[in-house]
């Protein structure tokens, strides 16, 4: 049974290792600041005992005040899971560091979120539109695209 780890414990572990990154712990997920996302992800992947080696999904959600990027992580070794979130308060230019160097699977997932929601992933080797064609105006999955 994949165990959803206790978010408070993980948040405190992250807080010890990389201070002042976790902004909130609620609803079974941990929210971190977008600048520190890469370090937190690296910590989660490499710490023995956590070892989240499998990235399941990246989603971008447009809440009207901010854009949230949600990462679902799973550890195949220990069979536990975690939900990591980060928030971009600036809707016109949301930027999040890319995790492609940690998990190769993030390649296409990040391109998809860039295409549909408009989140730029810094450090992605090939950030261009994947579903829509070059020259398409706008990002369809935003709530203000009609």
């Amino acid at each position: 049974m994949t165990v959803a780890l206790s978010v408070k414990e993980i948040a405190s572990k992250i807080g010890e290792a990389i201070p002042q990154t976790v902004t909130s712990v609620a609803d079974g997920s941990i929210t971190v600041t977008s600048q520190h996302l890469f370090q937190v992800a690296k910590f989660l992947k490499e710490t023995p005992g956590l070892e989240f080696d499998f990235l399941v999904n990246i989603s971008g959600v447009d809440y009207l005040d901010y854009i949230e990027v949600v990462y679902h992580l799973v550890s195949l070794k220990h069979n536990h899971s975690l939900v990591l979130k980060t928030v971009c308060p600036d809707r016109d230019n949301p930027v999040v560091p890319s995790v492609v160097s940690l998990w190769r699977g993030a390649d296409f997932l990040e391109r998809e979120e860039y295409d549909l929601v408009g989140v730029r992933f810094e450090g992605h080797p090939n950030l261009k539109r994947i579903y829509l064609w070059e020259g398409f105006q706008g990002h369809p999955l935003r709530r203000d695209y009609l």
């Binding site: 261009k128 539109r129 020259g135």
Partner: protein, 208 residues
């Protein structure tokens, strides 16, 4: 790159990877799609002049026509153009249970230059539309188009989407519409027999 063999000199030069220019290629393709989309959404008129002429008894199908039409309608070769779910009902039609081979149509040609019939089965998106137009233009006359499934007829379930063409007759003229989501193989077969009827009323003197 020096290669030995047949005494030829090979010019050595830098081995550039064409994919480095991928962005330029993408831009050009995107431009083509935007141009197609920007054209006013007028439907291509359905080729149904034969209906009026039949009513007016203007056209007389001679025995030469009858022979040619017999040859054409019993060996219509489709181009394999399955886009989405409807493609599997088309393949099921080619399978032994529903057997399109009894009509001489089991040869799905890969190249449009060897085919007569374009069965557009599945949702057409704007990104794909230049390719449909290209495939249609590559087919030699006489050629026919069947729009299979509601997505090809009018956009179907996805008609309100930002990337779906509302019906393939925005791009190519359609002869037979087969509704269904997906239409059963027997329904598609009925559509094909209607197309055969249409072909039998053609005259080779009448330009299409």
């Amino acid at each position: 790159m020096e290669k030995e063999g047949s005494g030829m000199e090979v010019a050595s030069f830098e081995w550039k990877n064409p994919l480095d220019n991928a962005a330029k290629l993408d831009k050009a393709e995107g431009l083509a799609i935007e141009q197609l989309r920007a054209q006013p959404q007028q439907r291509c008129p359905d080729p149904d002049q034969w209906l009026e002429q039949e009513l007016k008894h203007n056209i007389i199908v001679t025995s030469v026509d009858a022979v040619i039409n017999w040859g054409r309608r019993y060996s219509v070769w489709p181009v394999s153009f399955g886009l989405a779910c409807c493609a599997f009902e088309m393949i099921a039609l080619a399978a032994p249970r529903f057997d399109i081979s009894r009509f001489g149509m089991e040869l799905f040609r890969a190249s449009p230059r060897q085919a007569d019939l374009l069965i557009v089965s599945g949702t057409l998106t704007w990104k794909m539309s230049p390719q449909v137009k290209r495939v249609y233009e590559q087919m030699p006359e006489p050629k026919w188009v069947i729009a299979m499934g509601v997505c090809a007829i009018s956009g179907g379930t996805f008609a309100q989407s930002y990337s779906v063409v509302p019906g393939v007759n925005c791009i190519v003229p359609v002869d037979v519409y087969v509704p269904g989501c997906p239409p059963r193989p027997e329904a598609l077969l009925y559509g094909i027999t209607r197309l055969h009827d249409k072909i039998s009323k053609d005259s080779f003197r009448q330009p299409k």
